[in-house]
């Protein structure tokens, strides 16, 4: 089920009404969440419910066993089992055919022709997200950071919690599980704020991302017929598309969760206002980057060893992160290039230079800040081309199409772009004005008439400009 689908418009109010009707019984609320989440997920394809149940069951049992035993070898085996099952599922469904194709191609370079069976498996939606979520649970129990959950309903609900099941944020058990255990009280402020965040998420997804997609898809699939300036424009539109699509989903997920009195973690913090690439990666897809930091980077040694080891660990994390996004060499390249951009900051000890708030005490960005933001955006935008391209050849073809004399001609664009520019400007202005807030429609400090006027304007913008097609969210394919 998609957030931007008619089914969800019926599903959400129904679940919301029953949920608060059951407010005196936490266990029943959790059961409702569990059933609703399975309905939500199974709406897409009920056959893959089995995988999520399998992953949940194994990690529930392993969590209990890990806590019950102090024998180091047995604990290692239990952890290994969890890793094997979860990463195994991910590996088979997501990466098997990629490895087969890569092996066949590599062997053909040395004159060996091999026939290896492909599986052509459908990638279960959200598998990259919920496997990481359950893995973090078992890893945290192994490291004795948390205790295992004994209530299987609460645990299964934690794994399958529908607002964040298919595209994050990837929650930690230490944040989400306790919320399933305690009594939830309906809070008007929280629910109203949730609705505002949902509204903002739909604005980003329907009005900006889906409209950008229209132009981006056309240009990226026919890039040889467009001049350099048009390709640059399309890459900028893709930058907005992927940000608005993904952060829009996160806003809807977090806002929806607020309706149920459950707080999810922030997943994006105005990343395109970042001043350097290190800051960008602290503000983009925070739940994933912190997951890799805590479960890959730190176990490898983090920055505790020599500078060379720190660089090695950083590159590994970026490569793994790239690969997590998809079974394609383009994602690995994308991860690697990001690593290459990050490493100089590391070497110069400048990766933690911009930890403070962006434009502290500034009503409008200073010239210096603007230059930093635009430069960083240009770099990130440039690298996104690898992320979007179908394959490495197409990516390089795209770059080649940019860097020639046609870069200095007027871009060719459809009327769609005229509609997009004001929408993107609205986004940028709101992101700047509300850069410190959890989301950009958090307007508590504004006068009521202005607030309501803005909500109305956003609603009307979605009505008049938002694409209503059930376009799935980009990150569903990961």
């Amino acid at each position: 089920m998609l957030f931007n689908s008619p089914e969800f418009l019926v599903f959400l109010p129904l679940v919301f009404a029953i949920y608060w009707f059951l407010k005196k019984r936490v266990s029943l609320q959790n059961l409702l969440i569990l059933v609703a989440s399975y309905v939500f997920y199974g709406w897409w394809d009920y056959r893959f419910l089995g995988l999520i149940v399998l992953s949940s069951s194994i990690d529930f049992v392993i969590g209990l066993r890990l806590s019950a035993t102090t024998k180091a070898s047995k604990r290692k085996w239990l952890l290994f089992t969890s890793l094997f099952v979860n990463l195994g599922l991910l590996g088979v469904f997501k990466y098997y055919d990629f490895f087969v194709d890569s092996m066949i191609e590599s062997l053909s370079w040395v004159g060996v022709n091999m026939n290896i069976t492909h599986l052509y498996l459908v990638l279960p939606v959200g598998i990259s997200f919920y496997t990481f979520q359950t893995l973090s649970y078992t890893l945290d129990i192994y490291k004795k950071k948390i205790n295992p959950e004994k209530d299987w309903v609460a645990f299964f609900a934690f794994v399958s919690y529908f607002p964040q099941l298919v595209a994050g944020p990837i929650e930690r058990a230490s944040n989400l599980l306790p919320q399933f255990k305690k009594k939830r009280e309906f809070s008007y402020e929280q629910a109203a704020d949730g609705m505002r965040q949902i509204l903002w998420g739909f604005f980003k997804k329907m009005a900006i991302a889906d409209n950008c997609a229209y132009v981006v898809d056309s240009v990226f699939s026919n890039h040889e017929t467009y001049g350099g300036s048009t390709l640059v424009l399309a890459s900028v539109l893709f930058s907005f598309q992927i940000y608005c699509d993904f952060s829009g989903y996160s806003d809807i997920a977090i806002g929806t969760s607020k309706l149920f009195g459950i707080k999810l973690m922030t997943n994006f913090r105005v990343p395109y206002l970042s001043r350097d690439i290190a800051e960008f990666w602290r503000r983009w897809h925070i739940s994933l980057t912190t997951w890799f930091r805590d479960y890959v980077y730190f176990p490898l040694g983090g920055s505790k060893g020599t500078i060379n080891k720190t660089i090695r660990n950083t590159i590994i994390v970026f490569l793994v992160s790239g690969f997590w996004h998809g079974a394609n060499w383009t994602f690995l390249f994308w991860g690697f290039i990001n690593a290459l951009l990050f490493v100089p900051l590391l070497i110069g000890s400048r990766n933690r230079k911009n930890l403070g708030e962006i434009g502290e005490n500034m009503k409008w960005p200073s010239f210096k800040l603007l230059v930093a933001i635009i430069t960083n955006f240009a770099i990130v935008n440039f690298v996104w081309i690898f992320f979007r391209a179908q394959d490495i050849g197409n990516a390089f073809g795209f770059y080649k199409g940019i860097f020639n004399a046609s870069l200095f001609t007027l871009p060719t664009f459809s009327t769609e772009v005229f509609r997009l520019v004001p929408l993107m400007l609205i986004l940028v202005v709101f992101e700047w004005i509300n850069r410190k807030m959890p989301h950009q429609l958090d307007l508590a400090r504004f006068k009521p008439w202005l607030r309501r006027g803005i909500y109305l304007m956003v609603l009307l913008t979605i009505f008049f400009y938002g694409r209503y097609s059930s376009e799935s969210f980009i990150y569903f394919q990961f």
Binding site: M195, N222, L460, I462, F463, F464
Partner: protein
């Protein structure tokens, strides 16, 4: 909770009200397909892809002979290729023999190689056909007005656009009451060349991806047979630009022979209009006839139908 519901209901009421206004504003400017899914069942029909949808004008044909009362039920190569889905949709849209008053019925079946080919489906598995997830297969009603199910599930633009299109008619395509999709695109040489280049490039990519389909050919045969049981049928292949035609020859070198076989089997005529010297023959993008060229071709088809 009461305060929350009260405030929320104000916004929801506004939103619902706007959607009701949009539904009231739906017309031929809404999108390229909606109108065809709201008209009552028809007696005589034109089928095919967008080449037929844009190229064959029922009003022109109906003018030639007052027995003709055509409706254009063509969509696009993605939505209405010949196959089980389109076959069943055609049957749902056509009046049965009992529902007509003994009137003469006529059918124009427009064919292209793309309409009988599949993409990325080497096993020709009908469960993986590209049109399966779309309106012709999924809608419970193809003759409801308003067709809310279509608007909710398949209308992809903002609903506000329905209102603005109705008020300002900014779209350069307009679906007529008889199902013809009228286009009003810039026709300067440079723009036409650009559109043609893009179209040809898309189809060049498709030649490698598409393969002729036995199941689709069988469905086409069934459609012709069904229509033949109701009235008079002709099969036509519309003209297209040479670049597209060459790609079609690459995709299916024996296409004309296969169409002739289907025609012969059902005792109907197959008219290959490719290469005929029509006056004012022009294309918007190397694939679709311009409205002016469509008039000429449509009149010719009407004359063929009258003669056969």
């Amino acid at each position: 909770m009461k305060k929350f519901f009260l405030k929320l209901s104000l916004y929801i009421t506004l939103l619902l009200g706007l959607h009701v206004v949009a539904v009231l504003c739906v017309d031929g400017n809404t999108d390229s397909f909606y109108g065809r899914l709201t008209t009552p069942k028809v007696s005589s029909m034109i089928t095919g892809t967008s080449r037929a949808a844009q190229g064959i004008q029922p009003a022109i044909i109906n003018d030639v002979n007052n027995e003709f009362d055509f409706y254009n039920f063509g969509f696009t190569v993605g939505h209405s290729p010949y196959g089980p889905v389109y076959r069943d949709a055609i049957k749902r849209k056509l009046k049965t023999s009992d529902e007509t008053d003994g009137e003469e019925r006529y059918f124009i079946v427009s064919v292209t190689p793309w309409a009988v080919s599949n993409v990325k489906n080497p096993d020709d598995d009908p469960t993986r056909y590209r049109e399966n997830g779309w309106a012709l297969n999924e809608l419970t009603c193809l003759t409801c007005k308003p067709n809310l199910e279509y608007l909710v599930r398949y209308y992809s633009m903002a609903w506000g656009q329905i209102i603005t299109q109705r008020l300002f008619k900014v779209s350069n395509v307009s679906l007529q009451d008889d199902g013809w999709l009228k286009t009003d695109l810039p026709d300067d040489a440079a723009t036409v060349k650009r559109r043609t280049d893009l179209k040809v490039k898309a189809y060049v990519n498709n030649v490698d991806r598409y393969t002729p389909s036995v199941t689709r050919l069988k469905a086409l045969d069934e459609i012709v047979a069904y229509m033949n049981s109701l009235g008079k049928v002709i099969i036509v292949r519309l003209p297209a630009g040479e670049a597209i035609l060459q790609l079609e020859r690459d995709l299916m070198p024996d296409f004309n022979e296969k169409m002739q076989d289907i025609a012969d089997k059902n005792g109907v005529a197959y008219h290959n209009l490719v290469g005929r010297a029509f006056k004012d023959l022009a294309f918007t993008d190397g694939n679709h006839l311009t409205p002016k060229a469509g008039v000429v071709v449509s009149r010719h088809i009407a004359e063929l139908l009258s003669k056969d």
